[in-house]
């Protein structure tokens, strides 16, 4: 029993209770359970309205007076002491005649008798009861969760435990990359611990931040020496008698002497539930914080109001006002709160407010990215009102946006300036943006990165730089981070009127850069992920669109073989499902038939699949293989498993990748054949299958100039002749028929293979996404290709070995992986609804 720690301020409440019953104090008795932020604030609000109305007793489970819980983070970080964060000291309780019972949790409420009983056995009567028990940290139910050294981050006791652990030094693991977890991680690493943050979601603080801001945050934390593992699922916490480390589901082990679980909170409702009050996710209350029992109120994180529960302090202030007004008989209904979040980590400015779901539709995004300053801002507008905001790196305008959001103010008038912040928008709100730029003085700085003034830009335009690119290459304005691109474009328009030359086509509406710009920068800056590219290259949308995402995914995959993790959700359906979608939503399946060769075993397996899955059609394709139609997405893995069992792999008939290698019979059988065209075709296909490319890629090998394999309308074609092999490139048989250009003649099969590999890699590295070899070669010229592949032997060898290196990662049959259970969710329904009783069956 912890009587030692108990301290009753003012007077012993039991004695006070006695006195009250004897008529010494006739006032109604208000008992508060929870000496935290909401409980005490409610009492403060009540005292401000009617100080003498209630006799007040507060029970607190913690040994402390009322302190500011949100400042525990600065205490942990060493920026504040406990004394700094006390809100109400002992004198406040004494001055207001409040009985405070510390270190004694209330364990039962008897609503019939109107009493509460505490752990130490005290029983007190109440007229009004206020439940303000806050939240309980959520503990993930993994083995080892109860080991000494595993804690949560909720109260001063937790902070003391963390400080003691930090004193002992060593490694800490923080589970949970939300607000709380990151603040804990920050404090611990300032205190000298080596910290690893484990976050189950792909990005940090995903409830408050979008992917771009989450990525910036992760990069910044890593820059400060923390290890941040996203997508990390904890399997167990291990240790002998005390924690020694954390094991992830993927098998990784992270040693740690301290584990902080900060994965979320749950309203603390056990007491109220046992007392029979209405409970949803929290204790249900009305607009004056009254529970289902009219004598009992509840406030703070433990309540559910209008379907909402809150985990931040701002709503508590509003709730406490409505509650106190209600207690003194004044109507002031609580109507719910809109919240905003700020991360309290010194030097990292992160702000988020509102909701990004845009439930009514018609939402638009305004995005500003300033890579050189590490700034990302995104506003979500609906019907000309701000409904959400995410700010990273520059949060100065957070409160202004939040204010506009809460007031539901119409921002249509200043829409064009809004993202630049209050100072800019209120100054130039009504003005024409062009006029604002025209009004700038000649020495006003336009490009901060390169220190270029307006006068310099204008004179460079006057001297003939009539496009954005020309300006960039002459005076360097907008050539670095690009954030002044809009200003430069306005200057072009002002100076030239209608004569502005529109530059090369940008990649899509999300960016002002071209495919070539993006590719070049990905390699030059060593970018590693899609959010990184979008941030550094100022994407104007939060997560791109269906045209840039597949392109970026390919560029990164090509630049970082074996390292970049393919993003399935950025792939067109066919590549995601490894089959071709048909107009009725079913799929067609084309197994690879190397060089067009097949055998009874394969044919039998195909025949069996057609029968087993009732495929309505099977057809010989124009690419010398068989296509099975009408397979449902649920059946695909099973179909693949059957085909794999007969030794067949995916034919990639769906991919921006190598499709088929068409061959003719060649010297083995044909009376005209000069070389083994079938054999070479098979070898080429074995070397090139599985490779991802800017567009589809087809190869053919004909055994003589009669060219039965139609090699001269393929992306790469070989025509065998007596003296060797003619290599042809950039043919196309599709929409615009284009016959190939002759690249060169070689004398051995090996050379034909080597040139093919080098040529493919050149195409992979330099063509734009969705550009087939025919338009690519027309653009760069066949002479350029010849120079790189034929004349530059060293370069050819380098290209070839880069291709083979990348192939070493891409020749795992995607069907085999799926058949073995990978990405199961792509093929299975999430649940089914049966109309008889309309039950969802997960």
């Amino acid at each position: 029993m912890d009587f030692q720690n108990q301290r009753a301020d003012d007077k012993d409440p039991a004695a006070a209770e006695e006195g009250a019953r004897n008529g010494a104090d006739q006032r109604e008795h208000l008992v508060v359970i929870g000496n935290g932020m909401a409980g005490c604030r409610a009492v403060e609000e009540l005292l401000a309205r009617d100080p003498g109305r209630y006799r007040v007793t507060i029970f607190g489970a913690e040994p402390h007076v009322n302190y500011n819980r949100i400042m525990l983070s600065p205490v942990l970080a060493g920026e504040k002491t406990f004394d700094d964060i006390v809100i109400n000291g002992h004198d406040w309780y004494a001055d207001n005649g409040i009985s405070l019972v510390t270190s004694d949790a209330v364990t039962a409420i008897d609503r019939a008798a109107k009493t509460v009983t505490s752990r130490s056995g005290r029983t007190l009567g109440y007229d009004r009861l206020l439940i303000a028990t806050g939240s309980d940290p959520f503990i993930i139910p993994v083995p080892g969760k109860d080991l000494p050294g595993v804690i949560s981050f909720r109260d001063m006791k937790d902070v003391d435990t963390m400080l003691a652990a930090a004193d002992a030094g060593g490694d800490a693991v923080v589970i949970g990359g939300g607000l709380l977890g990151l603040e804990a991680a920050h404090g611990l690493s300032l205190r000298g611990m080596k910290v690893t943050v484990l976050h189950i979601m792909p990005t940090l603080m995903e409830r408050q931040l979008d992917e771009a801001a989450g990525w910036l945050l992760k990069t910044a934390l890593e820059g400060r020496g923390q290890t941040v593992l996203t997508g990390a699922d904890t399997a167990e916490i291990y240790g002998d008698g005390k924690v020694e480390g954390v094991r992830l589901k993927d098998g990784r082990d992270i040693p740690a002497s301290l584990v902080v679980m900060a994965v979320g909170i749950r309203p603390s409702v056990a007491l109220a539930r046992e007392a029979g009050l209405d409970i949803g996710r929290g204790i249900k209350v009305d607009d004056h914080m009254v529970t289902s029992d009219p004598s009992i109120l509840a406030v703070g994180e433990c309540v559910e109001h209008d379907g909402n529960v809150y985990g931040l302090v701002a709503p508590l202030w509003d709730m406490c006002r409505s509650l106190a007004d209600g207690l003194v008989g004044k109507a002031n209904p609580y109507r719910g709160s809109v919240t905003s979040t700020k991360l309290k980590v010194a030097g990292l400015d992160v702000f988020s407010a509102g909701d990004f779901s845009g439930t009514g539709g018609g939402c638009e995004d305004i995005v500003l990215r300033d890579a050189s300053r590490g700034v990302y801002k995104r506003l979500i507008l609906q019907d000309e009102k701000i409904v959400g905001a995410v700010l990273y790196g520059d949060t100065a305008d957070g409160n202004w946006y939040f204010d506009l959001l809460k007031k539901g103010e119409n921002v249509g008038e200043m829409r064009d300036f809004l993202i630049f912040g209050q100072a800019f928008a209120s100054g130039g709100g009504q003005a024409d943006p062009k006029a604002a730029v025209a009004a700038l003085s000649d020495d006003a700085e336009i490009c901060g990165c390169n220190g270029v003034s307006k006068g310099q830009v204008v004179s460079c335009i006057a001297k003939g730089a009539h496009s954005l690119d020309a300006v960039r290459s002459t005076c360097k304005a907008s050539a670095s981070c690009g954030s002044c691109t809009g200003l430069v474009e306005t200057l072009l328009a002002l100076t030239l009127g209608d004569d502005v030359q529109s530059g090369p086509k940008t990649m899509c509406k999300c960016t002002s850069y071209t495919h070539d710009d993006v590719r070049r920068e990905i390699v030059a800056q060593g970018m590693k992920s899609m959010p990184e590219v979008m941030q550094k290259m100022h994407w104007s949308t939060p997560d791109g669109c269906s045209s840039c995402r597949p392109a970026l995914n390919y560029y990164l995959l090509c630049a970082l073989p074996g390292e970049y993790v393919d993003d399935q959700q950025s792939r067109f359906v066919n590549e995601r499902m490894h089959a071709n979608i048909q107009k009725d939503g079913t799929y067609s399946v084309v197994p690879r038939m190397w060089g067009g060769l097949t055998n009874p075993r394969e044919l039998r397996a195909i025949a069996d699949v057609v029968e087993k899955y009732n495929a309505p059609m099977v057809k010989v394709t124009g690419g010398q293989r068989l296509d099975i139609f009408g397979i449902r997405k649920e059946d695909l893995p099973a179909v693949w498993a059957d085909l794999n069992a007969a030794g067949m792999v995916s034919g990639h008939a769906y991919g921006k990748s190598l499709r088929t290698v068409k061959t003719c019979v060649g010297s083995e059988w044909c009376r005209f054949g000069t070389q083994d065209s079938t054999g070479l075709g098979v070898k080429l296909e074995r070397m090139t299958w599985g490779s991802w490319m800017p567009h589809k890629f087809k190869i053919a090998v004909s055994g003589c100039p009669r060219n039965c394999a139609e090699a001269t309308i393929k992306d790469f074609g070989v025509v065998c002749v007596d003296s060797g092999y003619e290599l042809h490139v950039a043919g196309n048989g599709g929409i615009h028929v284009r016959a190939t250009d002759l690249l060169c003649r070689v004398s051995t099969e090996q050379e034909a293979m080597d040139y093919c590999a080098a040529y493919i890699q050149l195409y992979r590295e330099e063509a734009r996404y969705l550009e087939r070899t025919a338009p690519w070669v027309e653009r760069v010229g066949v002479d350029y290709v010849r120079q790189r592949i034929v004349e530059d032997g060293v370069g050819r060898e380098a290209l070839r070995s880069r291709f083979l290196f990348s192939q070493s990662f891409s020749q795992d049959d995607p069907w085999a992986e799926r058949a073995a259970g990978a990405d199961r969710e792509q093929h299975a329904h999430m649940a089914q609804v049966r109309p008889i009783n309309l039950e969802a069956v997960a």
Partner: protein, 112 residues
């Protein structure tokens, strides 16, 4: 009210920027989407253009690009965007304690 919502599973079962399907016996399949900022939307799994399975499209922002002819459909309203005209029925959906719930009444309607 009990039974107003149908519990279809955990949010984590839907890939970020992806979707999952829910067949309704005797009715139209429903697609439940999860966006990059972790919002959830439910629509009938049928493009207003020529019936393409929207669940298989690329999810970007709060839109999905239909896999058949690349129409962009707003997830919140089911409305085709840009020049294209047409609308797919939406189904109210909510998250409660990490569980995804879809509106029973609208599911019945979509089934009818």
């Amino acid at each position: 009210m009990i039974g107003e919502w149908l519990d279809i599973g955990w949010l984590g079962e839907i890939p970020v920027r992806g979707s999952r399907t829910i067949p309704v016996e005797g009715g139209e399949e429903i697609a439940v989407f999860r966006t990059g900022d972790d919002k959830v939307f439910a629509l009938v799994n049928r493009c207003p253009h020529k019936g393409g399975p929207l669940s298989q499209g690329i999810v970007h922002g709060h839109s999905v690009a239909c896999p058949l002819h690349n129409w962009n459909i707003a997830l919140a309203t089911g409305e085709a965007q840009g020049e294209d005209k047409g609308c797919t029925p939406t189904i109210p959906v909510k998250i409660d304690g990490g569980r995804v719930l879809i509106c029973r009444a609208s599911t019945v309607q979509a089934a009818a």
